[in-house]
Symmetry: C2
Subunit: 711 residues, 2 copies
């Protein structure tokens, strides 16, 4: 049994702190439960009263003469800990702590909260809060409104999880004004015990809930959330989230390009993208999308038909379709023929269909029934304005009948009326036909639905496992740890990459000029010469790199210059040797590939084209490791640089499969070794199709010893 | 007197086609006028009736026993022409033709419409329509509702111009539901005589109208529109437009990069950007912005403060501020001190200020009055959720008082309530405090307002006039016309550019190998050799270009190869000679500059960085000629490439002033010579600061002879 069952489906509720005084939280909650037609028993607990609102009160929860499934606590913060102990004693397994004044007020509050967490966990109590509005379950055989601010909403398919009480209020306000039915509402506040992932787990199995909306300022356990989202996908329950704090750029200490370009918000973007969760920017989008999904009809594709009684709406809808990547479908000749027969001569029978201003409900029906038969139509948007001929109620009634007759065709409406909140909206809502103010909203919502259903329809993809040399990486890491450093030298970075099948350009390491010359002869001129030192992170800045050395003379000169420059600029640097590399002139394109460990999320893998692409246009893509093959491919395709890789305007194409392979190998490396904090391969040269991909420069950093998570 | 005065402010109106039969257009219009409390006299004209709705009817308009200012015509389309003749005879100067069935139904309809236009113009009649809903003037001493679909809206500051009747209905629907006051409404339909620019001219001088919204599918006379928009700016009346048809890519025949990247929609974008008109994508944005402007308070800057009673709303608003380029202000120490004293300890006194859930109207006032004093605050957003302590009506009342006491501080609200359409919304609307569903809308609207006021506050800039050699261009053009061609050769293109002070890389023209060698010696190796032929537009495709020729041998070989290749690939091409050009290796950056004549708009000037910037990222900017210096600068700054030009990450900066100069010179050239259809300079090499800018390749095309407009 899911442990949130006690919270959402209690047979008995104790309101600890229930009060007879108007305007108190304890009064509001108790009266809300009484008024919500709760199907169980509710007990006021308050030593000050004999009864509250005519209901016999108890001096403490232990005295309640029945098993209590859920305790709602609304007493001063200092008393909460003690009361929770009593609840535990009573064997209560569900608690909602309404009271604020814990972690959010600072150290003192956090201390009490930690105590509470301990008691709850020890006694296996599902505890919501503290610092919450409360919860709502509209399910008929429960009918529980245990919160202090909100009236009972209309029952429906949408669940709301809100980290903020304020946004919870706004959400219910919107739902009320737009007649959006709610299944469950839960304010999760400080998330001391129960967090969004736990609530998701419950809602996924909740038959009443079909669509889940979340307001979150953070996700407590990204990995749990990811697992739950995948389960929701399996049940085709869309999750729509607004995760705020984009503007709070996660301050990630960083030494690499990859690090500089990623933020904790990038990790969230990746997390959501990798589990099909729909992230939106605004509250309006959150609820519009929720409403859109209420029909739960899966579009077959993205070819839409628009039917309107006013040309202008068709034009607006067409623009919006293009903006949102939908296709205005072309009708079959039979459809056109039928429409021609049934519509007046002034009508426009091509998509967007204009049945013109004097159309009544019958004409709309005639048009829709032909359009529904057309195999090129994946979804229909009906945009009808009030005219002297339009009786919106009969249009809505007909539309509902039409929807019933065509259960597999997604229908979105945009019926307008000069009268506020007319009856037809209720009709449409009951028939689960989403109705919005403007056709552009229908289109935007439909585009989101199509994207979602495409996502969940993907076949499941296993994570590729390559044969690798883990020992080689282990050795490198141990050496570094032994030397109490965190920066890998360039050859060390190559070594761990090579162990996982990622190739560097031909190189040698030498410790003096003579060995350097031998190495250069082995590799063949021209060569690159670089200093190797764990103390030098930005080699170029200290004159530690010389390129395009054509012969031994060049090499000698470069060697001496480097030695001289380091002596001047970084005399204390411990020199491990010199790196001699092939100076690579083969035609190809430069990319950047990296990984960056984000607290709580794991490693964020980055891909982008090099140079100005990455620097100026931030034309990069991220996904969290471990990557699937599809993830890697999506990353590449997400960038504009993909156009170049696949062969731009008749130019050469590049080995995209090879890049995918490298991304997957990198993903496996950082997954196997979570002590790798950052890896930056920049540049990586991708040769034309049929040739290889070689890393030209690389750096890597380990997390500091004390931060290595237990494996 | 503006000729639309007869339309909007008539003393007497004749409804020709007024009918006593319910459900007819003639009935709806006449009854709407009667019911609108029109302050003049209205005469039904219909030979079928003695009276209509108890008002004495006339058999024809000539019989009306008074001067008629406005005739509203709603009779079958075939009779309209005749009736307009009668109106002209009667001396009527204002006509609204409601009737449809003209240009929009094809050739036959267009013919009648043309006749109507002729009569109207000959008799100086301001004619609206045909194919319209009608007009509305809410002004108290007029109070005219002469349309067949809409009820009289609440009077207010917003005028609506709609090309589509349907969108007109939607607009009034939105206005009604959101209590947005309307000054004038006009449906302009086919725009046979009066178009949007004419209506603008009237509205600019209309004291009732403060904000103008437009739905347009095209702009009849872009130049007129531009002039009117500038006049509206002078009066600080914002114009907000939704111009549809973005998806209908204007099919512009083109031979150049510039052409390929521009569309008629780009011309619209440029037009609006150059005259401060606010273009929006969606109907929701159109009206939200209109509502935002109703306060008409100009923000001093973009530093905003947010006051809320729920932390979540503050977070959402902060994200939205960043997304919209607004700055969350930092309060002065005195403000923080005062807030600390006045707010409870659990409140957040830093921006976004959270006065917490138990705040009443007084606490909100206390916070606002301190924030208003802070010199770092340019605008305030007040986001209040319903809690047990919030009496929205007293909050709204206080907010209105606060707004009155701070007339120079823009205030946007976001007061929510679980009750639909409560009284407080009316209070806010009366006090012109825009109130939206979510704080994100307040922020988006405020950002638009700030952008607008910044635009109109710019000092007026004259068009720079350079000393140029017009004759030289004239000569080139005459030669080409004489030879009945339209393509300029590369040297011809250089010649017209040079006449306007735009320099090409050092080049010579030679007619044989000997002269080619002499020319190369003059210029100095390495050189580029190109074929010159009016018949060869894409030189590279026929092997007509050879670069990096290092010496005479290279040159000879290249010469022969070109001759051979042309013989094979384009033997019929008329060869005018060979172009010898310096092969330019100096360090610098390549840009693309061009111009493309767009029917009705004049020349669209393009700027972008060369290579993948322009090709893949479409990182280009457009403005219509003639450009101001600010226009040219804005173009450059609009591109991402600007980051490179001004010196990206410590790299060299480039001569931006020089690019501005070239853009202005090109603008002057295409303005002086409207027979130039396209000019494409690609690439233009911009050297590092202090060095020059040189055109490396150029082509130009004239419009075909018969299309040259009269000068």
């Amino acid at each position: 049994m899911n442990r949130l069952k006690n919270i959402f489906e209690p047979k008995s509720v104790a309101v600890i702190g229930a009060s007879a005084t108007n305007g108190t939280v304890g009064n509001a909650i108790f009266s809300n439960i009484l008024q919500s037609n709760f199907q169980g028993s509710v007990y006021p607990v308050n030593p000050k009263y004999n009864n509250v609102m005519s209901v016999r009160a108890y001096k403490d929860v232990v005295s309640v003469p029945e098993i209590v499934d859920l305790a709602v606590i609304c007493i001063p913060n200092k008393e909460v800990e003690n009361i929770i102990k009593q609840c535990a004693e009573k064997g209560i397994k569900g608690i909602v702590v309404i009271t604020a004044g814990f972690k959010e007020i600072g150290e003192a509050g956090k201390k009490i909260e930690d105590e509470i967490i301990e008691i709850a966990n020890k006694n296996n109590i599902a505890l919501i809060g503290p610092n919450v509005l409360g919860i709502i379950n509209t399910q008929k055989d429960i009918s529980l409104n245990a919160n202090f601010a909100l009236k009972m909403p209309r029952s429906g398919k949408v669940a709301i999880i809100s980290q903020s009480g304020a946004i919870g209020v706004a959400a219910l306000d919107y739902a009320h004004q737009h007649d959006l039915g709610i299944s469950k509402f839960i304010s999760i506040g400080n998330k001391a015990v129960i967090d969004e992932s736990d609530v998701l787990e419950y809602l996924i199995d909740d038959d009443e809930t079909k669509i889940i909306t979340i307001y979150a300022e953070d996700i407590r356990h990204p990995a749990n959330f990811f697992e739950m989202a995948k389960k929701a996908n399996a049940k085709q329950k869309p999750i729509i989230i607004i995760k705020t704090g984009r503007s709070v750029r996660g301050a990630i200490a960083t030494h690499s390009h990859t690090g500089a370009l990623s933020s904790s918000d990038t990790a969230y973007d990746s997390l959501f993208a990798q589990c099909g969760v729909i992230r939106v920017e605004t509250l309006a989008q959150l609820f519009e999308n929720a409403k859109g999904f209420t029909s739960l009809v899966k579009p077959k594709g993205n070819r839409i038909a628009i039917v309107t009684n006013g040309g202008g709406m068709g034009v607006i809808a067409t623009d919006a379709a293009e903006r949102n990547g939908l296709t205005m479908t072309t009708f079959e000749p039979e459809t056109l023929e039928a429409l021609k027969t049934k519509m007046p001569p002034t009508a426009n029978i091509h998509n967007p269909v204009d049945i013109i201003g004097d159309a009544d409900a019958q004409r709309l029906n005639d048009a829709l029934s032909e359009i529904a038969k057309d195999k090129n139509v994946d979804a229909v948007i009906v945009s009808i304005l009030p005219t002297s001929e339009t009786d919106m109620n009969s249009i809505a009634t007909n539309l509902c009948d039409f929807a019933k007759a065509n259960p597999n065709l997604p229908i979105l409406a945009n019926l307008m009326s000069l009268e506020a909140e007319p009856a037809f909206e209720e009709l449409l809502n009951k028939a689960s036909i989403p109705n919005f103010d403007f056709p552009e909203t229908d289109i935007r919502v439909l585009a989101t639905m199509i994207k979602y259903y495409n996502w969940i329809d993907q076949p499941p993809i296993e994570i590729t496992k390559f044969e690798v040399n883990k020992n080689q990486v282990q050795e490198v890491i141990e050496t570094i740890k032994k030397e109490k450093r965190i920066h890998l030298s360039e050859p060390e970075s190559y070594k761990i990459l090579e162990a996982y099948g990622i190739k560097a350009v031909d190189y040698r390491v030498a410790i003096d000029l003579d060995k350097t010359i031998i190495a250069a002869n082995e590799i063949g001129y021209p060569v690159v010469l670089k200093i190797i030192s764990p103390d030098i992170i930005h080699k170029i800045d200290v004159g530690g790199v010389k390129i395009n050395l054509k012969d031994e003379n060049d090499l000698k000169k470069a060697f001496n210059e480097i030695v001289e420059s380091i002596k001047n600029k970084k005399s204390d640097a411990k020199i491990q040797g010199f790196l001699i590399q092939k100076y690579f002139t083969a035609k190809g394109i430069e990319i950047i590939v990296g990984a960056n460990l984000i607290q709580g999320f794991g490693s964020l893998i980055m891909f982008g084209l090099g140079g100005t692409f990455v620097e100026l246009f931030k034309d990069v893509a991220f996904r969290l490791a471990p990557l699937t093959k599809q993830d890697a491919l999506n990353m590449i395709m997400e960038t504009k640089g993909y156009q170049i890789l696949k062969g731009y305007r008749g130019q050469s194409s590049y080995n995209i499969e090879g890049i995918v392979d490298y991304l997957l190998r990198l993903s496996q490396l950082v997954t196997d070794f979570p002590e790798i904090k950052e890896i930056d391969m920049n540049p990586v040269k991708v040769l034309e199709d049929g040739f290889g991909i070689v890393v030209m420069d690389a750096k890597a950093i380990l997390i500091e010893e004390q931060k290595i998570p237990l494996l």
